[in-house]
């Protein structure tokens, strides 16, 4: 048995503090989170975490159950890379002069499916998405041409066989809509309220 990359998809309420509750499930066991994304789901009021870790299947299975046990968690799935479609977005900042000077750079970017998002006099920002190896490869390729800045997003993933659950989720949100989250309305009122 070997450690393997697993993508854990967690459907939750959209509540303050839940991120920590879920994150501690990993840190408590000293498991490094490779990537974590929080996002809305197709059902309004239901939030979705996409978490990538490298672990043994046995560990991930138990972990998913512990996550699902949390009061505000609706469902936790774990999948191997074969069972999902995933992408990560990457942004690259490159000197515009460099690109203008060397036609090769333009060609390299095109070859890697990158698209210019912003073009300014001093720099250009390219965007690409794909698997980690692909976005990493472009970093490597751009390095000799003065890559100024690079950032990559967390993984977002869709489970190939999610049809059944998707139907249920919609139905669920319709019959029992989520509660509205109450945020702190007083943080900017420090000087106007009485306190002691």
């Amino acid at each position: 048995m070997q450690k393997e990359e697993f993508t854990i998809t967690v459907y939750t309420e959209n509540h303050i503090g839940l991120l920590v509750r879920i994150a501690t499930m990993f840190s408590r066991r000293k498991i490094n989170i490779e990537s974590l994304n929080t996002s809305p789901s197709e059902a309004e009021g239901i939030h979705r975490f996409t978490i990538v870790i490298n672990e043994f299947e046995e560990v991930v299975r138990k972990l998913a159950r512990q996550i699902e046990k949390q009061v505000e968690v609706l469902k936790a799935y774990y999948n191997t890379n074969e069972e999902i479609i995933w992408q990560e977005l990457a942004l690259y900042k490159v000197s515009t002069d460099e690109i203008a000077e060397k036609a090769k750079v333009e060609r390299l970017l095109r070859e890697h499916g990158a698209r210019a998002v912003v073009i300014r006099k001093d720099y250009t920002i390219f965007e690409t998405s794909g698997h980690r190896e692909e976005t990493d490869k472009l970093v490597e390729v751009l390095a000799p041409y003065g890559l100024i800045e690079f950032v990559r997003s967390a993984r977002v993933a869709i489970i190939k066989a999610s049809h059944g659950f998707h139907e249920k989720l919609r139905e669920f949100e319709e019959t029992e809509p989520g509660e509205e989250q109450i945020e702190n309305e007083f943080l900017d009122k420090q000087e106007t309220v009485f306190s002691m």
């Binding site: 920590v20 299975r61 138990k62 699902e68 009061v71 109450i182 309305e185 007083f186 420090q190 306190s195």
Partner: protein, 578 residues
């Protein structure tokens, strides 16, 4: 300057009335049937305490001496009564002092609702006086926690808190309420108890096919063995459990947390599991052919080495918490569900049987244990008193009807091994977390939770010194608890390990004690100290018959060990008798 406690226009309809957040908290308590609160006031929870002033005829508040004492009392209350324990603490240190008790309640599945005061919402994150991020500190040690910054949330949040704490696998819930929300006036529409949260499934759906599979395994078994834990008590399924083992004729052993779910004298009660458990149940775990675990979680202190644990057996695991099944021991058949529901279904399908030869094997092992360990522990030849004989004498006097609250260490293992119990919810101890200092405050809570019962707390000299400030609580509230200190002048369990596994290098286990009887006297609590056998019985009866609290210190053998013992890293069948 405006105040956050803005007064709203009073409502004209009779359906609502204007109250503040603090009153809403107490209204929730009254509606939930809370009768006792254990707590300690402070700046950030003062509005709630102010409201409490007007509720004192409906809600009893016990002023403890330290928030840790408060929460352990809440735990003792919950464990003795089967209801939710309620605890108050202020912000900052008040909240951090609750953490040990929350962790203890979390690992031992004790239903608690803790309310902490918090600084004003606008001060959150400013390092205000007594501000601490209690939500993030307590996240890993609560079943659920929530911060309230607006009073209108309070009724629904409190309803959720009680519902979450007591349903499913119970656990502690902490609600942090900012001071502005406590003061804020709002239109109160009454309290609606919570009975459903969309993302929370307290009980998994019972799958009848697994019950059928489990019954089939049991019916084919030749040497079936039942292990039961606190799940039977928490599920209030003692009767269903007994009916099941009696019909199926299966010998049953308990975890420390399951103790008292089945009376000690029951013919199928074969004793205690685990590190200091009985010889038979440990050895025969590795000889049974079907192992039926009910409401227990295969803690490492129960299983010893997992790769040599019951490998020959088919395992049936009944638990309300799906994440417990296959967590430590792989189940052949996992039966998810509340054992109050699953046990009767299983009982219906199992054949009525007896296993005289198999049950006899437990008896044979017990005889060996009596010869090697128990006889001398309960009837020592030497002059020095043993912990075991103190418990034996206590059994004779209580008849097994008392609630026994223990602390943590050697005395705890001895008390669990030898104390006699006739009814459930009678053994209150810190099982999972092993919190020294649990005993005294938990006993206070137990007395409030079961006021008609005799409460005896057995504590070591180490653990007693961790929370002895709660003698003040006993004094002020005239709590009738009997405190039995078994003093071996050592941190005995650690010393035992140092003796057995660390070459007798007694590193910082030699602990001095104050004069406990004089200390008790300072608190107005009667006391006695015993170091001779001839005085023991008289002193124990004096303690039990005394009107009000009593402290009895019994000097026991300094270097006595608890046996049998499954040494760490060993299999349960490698249990040592000496």
């Amino acid at each position: 300057m405006e105040t956050l406690a803005t007064v709203q226009e009073p409502s004209l309809t009779k359906a609502t009335r204007t109250i503040n957040g603090s009153q809403a908290v107490l209204e929730a308590f009254v509606a939930e049937g809370v009768d006792t609160i254990f707590g300690y006031p402070g700046g950030a929870i003062m509005p709630i305490y102010d409201a409490l002033y007007d509720y004192h005829d409906q809600l009893k508040h016990i002023l403890v001496r330290h928030e840790q004492g408060g929460i352990h009392a809440g735990q003792g209350y919950a464990r003795a009564s089967g209801r939710v324990g309620v605890v108050f603490g202020t912000s900052g240190p008040g909240a951090t002092n609750l953490v040990t008790g929350l962790a203890d309640a979390m690992i031992d599945s004790t239903p608690l609702v803790c309310i902490t005061g918090q600084v004003f919402a606008h001060l959150l994150g400013t390092d205000a006086f007594q501000e601490i991020d209690v939500i993030n500190i307590t996240t890993p040690v609560t079943k659920w926690n929530y911060q309230v910054t607006d009073a209108t949330e309070i009724p629904a949040v409190l309803a959720k808190a009680f519902y979450i704490a007591k349903t499913g696998r119970p656990g502690p819930v902490l609600i942090d309420i900012t001071k502005n929300a406590q003061l804020q006036q709002f239109e109160y529409e009454g309290y609606k108890p919570c009975s459903h949260i969309r993302s929370y499934r307290p009980k998994p759906i019972v799958r009848k096919e697994y019950i059928a599979q489990a019954a089939e395994l049991i019916n084919q078994a030749e040497r079936p063995f039942v292990l039961f834990g606190q799940g039977v008590i928490l599920g209030k399924a003692e009767k269903e459990f007994k009916t099941f083992i009696e019909k199926a004729g299966i010998p049953a052993a308990w975890t420390v947390m399951g103790l008292s779910a089945l009376e000690t004298d029951h013919p199928l009660n074969v004793g205690m599991l685990g590190m200091h458990g009985n010889y038979g149940p440990n050895v025969l775990t590795n000889e049974c052919d079907v192992l039926i675990a009910i409401g227990m979680r295969f803690d490492d202190r129960v299983t010893g080495r997992l790769d040599k644990y019951a490998k020959q057996a088919k395992v049936i695991h009944l638990d309300i918490d799906p994440s417990e099944i296959d967590k430590n021991v792989k189940a052949t058949v996992g039966v998810w569900g509340d054992c109050k529901e699953t046990l009767p279904l299983l009982t219906k399908l199992v054949e009525s049987k007896v296993y005289p030869q198999w049950v006899n094997r437990f008896k044979e092992h017990l005889e060996a244990e009596v010869t090697e360990v128990i006889h001398d522990e309960l009837n020592p030849k030497g002059e020095v008193l043993t912990m075991g004989e103190v418990i034996r004498n206590l059994n004779e006097l209580t008849g097994g009807d008392a609630i026994i609250v223990t602390d943590v260490g050697q005395h705890q293992m001895v008390a669990c091994r030898y104390a006699k119990f006739n009814q459930s919810k009678s053994n209150i101890t810190s099982g999972g977390l092993g919190t020294m200092g649990f005993g005294l405050p938990a006993a206070i809570g137990a007395k409030f939770g079961a006021p008609d019962r005799q409460v005896v707390t057995i504590i070591g000299d180490g653990g007693f010194q961790m929370t002895l400030q709660e003698l003040g609580t006993i004094m002020q509230n005239e709590v009738d608890v009997k405190i039995l200190i078994l003093n071996n002048q050592f941190l005995g369990m650690v010393r035992q390990w140092q003796q057995l596994f660390m070459d007798k290098r007694y590193s910082f286990v030699d602990i001095a004690s104050p004069d406990y009887v004089t200390l008790a006297k300072a608190y107005g609590i009667a006391g006695q100290r015993v170091n001779k056998r001839e005085d023991l019985n008289g002193a124990l009866s004096a303690m039990l018959n005394h009107k009000g609290s009593f402290l009895l210190e019994v000097m026991v053998g300094k270097e006595n060990n608890v046996f049998p013992m499954v040494p760490q890293g060993c299999s349960v069948s490698e249990i040592r008798l000496k």
